[in-house]
Subunit: 227 residues, 2 copies
DNA sequence: ACAAAAGTGTTGTTCTTACACCCATGG
DNA sequence: CCATGGGTGTAAGAACAACACTTTTGT
């Protein structure tokens, strides 16, 4: 056992869909390095802590979300020497998908946290500190890909949702309009994707829509497809 | 910067297809802990070394493969406290896909390395040291999934290969027979998957088969599908 | 009545599957 | 000639895309 000790951090890409666009939770750095720049929330993994546990702890600290029901998955690990000017730090990136709750992003220790449009951030490679632009790019691509073959889009929705709300998630994440009629058919016919609750709502305007919950499927057959 | 220093290792899941079955390169551990058990090859990341560089170095050490043309991708990172009884070690797993070369697995520092059938190893959760059974499970599932939507199967083949050799890769990795005729059509019609070299071979017996090389595509549209 | 969104029907096209069939070689 | 694998044709069925059309609400 003869190794170089390194810092191990868990960084979070927390995504949500708000106002029809995909947004990411960023914090404004209050200290050097990269003071004043935007960064992904994150922090060091503690001695007796699992990687995912650390990610959930950070998630709770940043969002105030009792994180048990929040979707969280590991994306990749970044360890280029020099990626953190303070020393050798290896960062494990976790992707979190949260519904658009009226949660006002409980400001914690980090200076100020806020939701920022993903398209804006990805369009400017210098906006983020460290190698976070790269990490965000990878995480967003993961999310986009997983919507195709998994029922993950429901993670962005409240417990009960309408088909068009679900379609809004796809359209925001993929940045692409989908045919409401074909989408409706495909989603409701795919075994285990969504299950009707029996209730209806008129919150989207027009004719009342059925409400659904996530189903039990973990993969979608056949997948939904992007153009 | 106040963190618990940890060891960071790169572990390798080196897969190949030999004799019609998917095999993984394992080493027999010569020292405690888990002395005498099989384990994935790997080692600590050095101070000035990138994670992928470390993985390529280990790959070269274990297989003697000048690794530039070998497919290597990160799978996931494992960091449960207690996964290594010697101390806190976080392990970044890399998946390598190599052709069935007549390379006799250059024995290095590690006691003895050999190819073992993946089905056998996965069938016995106690065969591998540490949490390597879990890591192997994840890596194999990644490989199986990626064959569907990427031209990755060619990474298991020599520079020039026939369609039925490529089919043999799919059948070994998925553990499932495929229709030779439909497979042929699908592969040759998918833009950029394979390109004919013009040469033919009779090494598979029967009528001479065209030889192909990998194409330039990075994703397959439409994907090949498992049952 | 009208606008807006939900949801169903239909039609032509494309993809998939299963399998019949012919081709080109080695023995 | 025959066995072996390479490769093409084809027809039935499934999935898909585009869009006309009906339903049910709020205003």
């Amino acid at each position: 056992m003869d190794f170089e000790p390194m810092g191990v951090a868990a960084d979070l890409i927390i995504l949500t869909v708000r106002d029809g666009s995909l947004q990411v939770l960023l914090i404004r750095r209050g200290i050097a390095p990269y003071k004043g720049r935007w960064a992904l929330p994150g922090g060091f993994v503690r001695p007796a802590e699992d990687l995912e546990t650390a990610a959930r702890r950070e998630l709770a600290e940043e969002t105030g979300l009792g994180s048990d029901r929040i979707h969280l998955e590991q994306v990749a690990t970044y360890g280029q020497p020099g990626r953190d000017p303070r020393g050798r730090v290896v960062s494990v990136a976790y992707l979190a998908l949260v519904p658009d709750l009226p949660t006002p992003v409980a400001g914690s220790d980090a200076a100020s946290a806020s939701w920022v449009g993903v398209a804006d951030v990805l369009g400017d490679p210098k906006r983020l500190a460290f190698d976070h632009h790269r990490i965000l790019t990878d995480a967003v691509e993961r999310a986009r890909a997983k919507l195709e073959y998994s029922p993950l889009a429901t993670a962005f929705c409240a417990d009960e949702f309408t088909i068009s709300e679900l379609r809004g998630v796809y359209e925001a994440v993929w940045g692409q309009a989908l045919d409401p009629r074909n989408f409706h058919r495909k989603v409701t016919k795919t075994e285990g994707f969504v299950t009707p609750t029996g209730a209806t709502t008129t919150r989207d305007g027009g004719r009342p829509a059925q409400l659904f919950q996530r189903g039990t499927a973990t993969t979608l057959h056949p997948p939904l497809t992007r153009a």
